[in-house]
Amino acid sequence: MSDSTPQTSAPAGPIVAGLTPAQPESVPAHPVRARWVPLWFAVLWANGKARVGIVMLVGFVAVAVFAPVIEPHDPQSQSFDASLGVSGSNLLGTTAQGQDILSLLIRGTRTSLIVGLLGGVFSTLIAMLIGMVAGYLQGWVDEILSFFINLALVIPVLPLMVTIAAYSPVRGISLIIFIIAITGWAWGARLKRSQIITLRTRDYVTAARFAGDGAIRIIFREIMPNMTSLVVAGFMGSATAAIAAEAGLEFLGLGDPTTISWGTMLFWAEQGSAMLTGAWIWLLAPGIALALLITSLTLINFGVDALSNPHLRGD
């Protein structure tokens, strides 16, 4: 008996509930298997694309964690000859300042992952807070919060970032994470708000009120578990956007140019006229690394998509 059940009988567990049409009486009762991984993870792992993505992501995390051990040289040392090509001691060559590209690349993994994680987490938390409060309480609270959501959606992000960076006395990763968090939450907030509005009118929420449960308990024990897939998908999207945004901001020089990250590598590549000197590896490597990391998250997102939108399951 296969793990996943066919489309026309019972759906795969609690995750896709709320989307089922009138069910036939012929639902066979099968026992709930004990799981030692959360259900959503198991569903993700079952999806081929998501599985590849998860493996890739784990690889990146490993590289980031073990960076000081893996990297062949100290990324900050400028002791090598400048603008070398591929050579024995510098597998990917060196920059115009004499730094080893491979070491820079490995150490830069940390920045992207941290920004992705923190930026994604903060964006998602803000989105959840604002979206869910607006959706659950409704009334004038909702009107005001919705206005802010729409406002945040409309304001052009990069010009805002440039403006903030212009005035800010501090530059660096924390500023970038801050900017990403306060500009990236709007889309997710809107989605969560509409999801909550749909869920709060469900009969089981009314039933919970009739059973004497208070609002807090209802939000956390009744509604939240039904929103897991949306929240996970939202986090994935935010993390991806954060990584891309960080690279763009560093590239423009809005971050701290002494940070070691893939974005700053591209910044220095442009400053150091990599194109003129033909140092194409310097140009290529950080971009490919970014692409691969974003690809891994996008692949995982395929699995999350299938979780929340049955239409897109390959059939």
């Binding site: 206005f147 729409n150 406002l151 959606l153 409309v154 304001i155 052009p156 992000v157 990069l158 010009p159 805002l160 970032m161 440039v162 403006t163 903030i164 960076a165 212009a166 005035y167 006395p169 889309w187 891309a244 690279a247 763009g248 590239f251 423009l252 809005l254 591209l266 590549a269 442009e270 990599a274 194109m275 003129l276 033909g278 194409w280 140009l283 290529l284 950080p286 971009g287 970014l290 692409a291 691969l292 974003i294 690809t295 996008t298 939108n309 239409h311 897109l312 390959g314």
Partner: protein, 331 residues
Amino acid sequence: MAYFLRRLAFFVLTLWAAVTLNFLLPRLQPGDPARSILSRLGQNRSITPEQVKAIRLMLGIPNENLLLQYWHYLGSLAHGNFGLSYSNFPAPVSHLILQKLPWTLVLVGVTQIIAFVVGTVLGAFAAWRRNSRFDSVVSLTSTFIGTLPFFWIALLLLYVFSFVLGWLPNTGGYGGPPIQPGLNTLFLESAIYHSVLPAVAILITAPIGWIMGMRNTMVQTLGEDYIRLAWAKGLRSRRIALRYGARNAILPSVTGFAIALGAILGGQLLIEQIFNYPGLGNLMFQALSDRDYPLIQALFLFNTVCVLLANLLADVLYGVLDPRVRRGGSS
């Protein structure tokens, strides 16, 4: 009718919010914003009295009542006085913006519209032939390109086609003197020649969002019951695909366009910086490195107003396209 009025109200309110944000940003720094800016300026160069005057004009007298400053600020905006640029002192900021506007407008206008059309057509087609070879190729390619940082693609294009192959120029909007800007063929030729690389960079990445968005929406639309009934009616595929499918599926993309405009302007900034293209994005970037605060502020405001206008337009368009929105409710 009510729908349109509501959108207009939102436009006005958001405009006010953006203006206020612009006002507040520099004042969020602790202490006297003018002094901290002046001190930062004074680090690298000497400040002329005119520059001090320009800053005071923009940021107001210290310790003056905040609300009074706000009132003055609103007043000067209403008069179209955005201040004087002090990297190009005494040129008024509005003058500079208007000068560079056509470059950005043409590049963005042409490429984004093409991207939208091409993207939605490809996406609709991919959804129509779901899971076919065409769909797989389109979806996979789009997803792949979508993971690449687009400014990096621009860099690569610049490197390959300008530096390595030398086919296309690597900087500027046109060839420079002796070519004079104006409606002469020499200038137009040169301008087009210089815009090819930036345009190609945009055209590679911009359609991606539309392709995937339209494909997903269309797949969902094609599962609707009115599509089934259209088949049962024996209508031709093309009619079903266009009048029943795409016509319904395109609605979210229209709102999506408005929302994406903010991102589009941001992307434009990156493109112009990379290709040294003389548009508004490049101007903003210059202003950033020159610490030309009046210019930065005005550009931010300008960007926001453009996005708002585009949103309003998109909302109006949506109202026109979707009868459920402009004629509500059932009898």
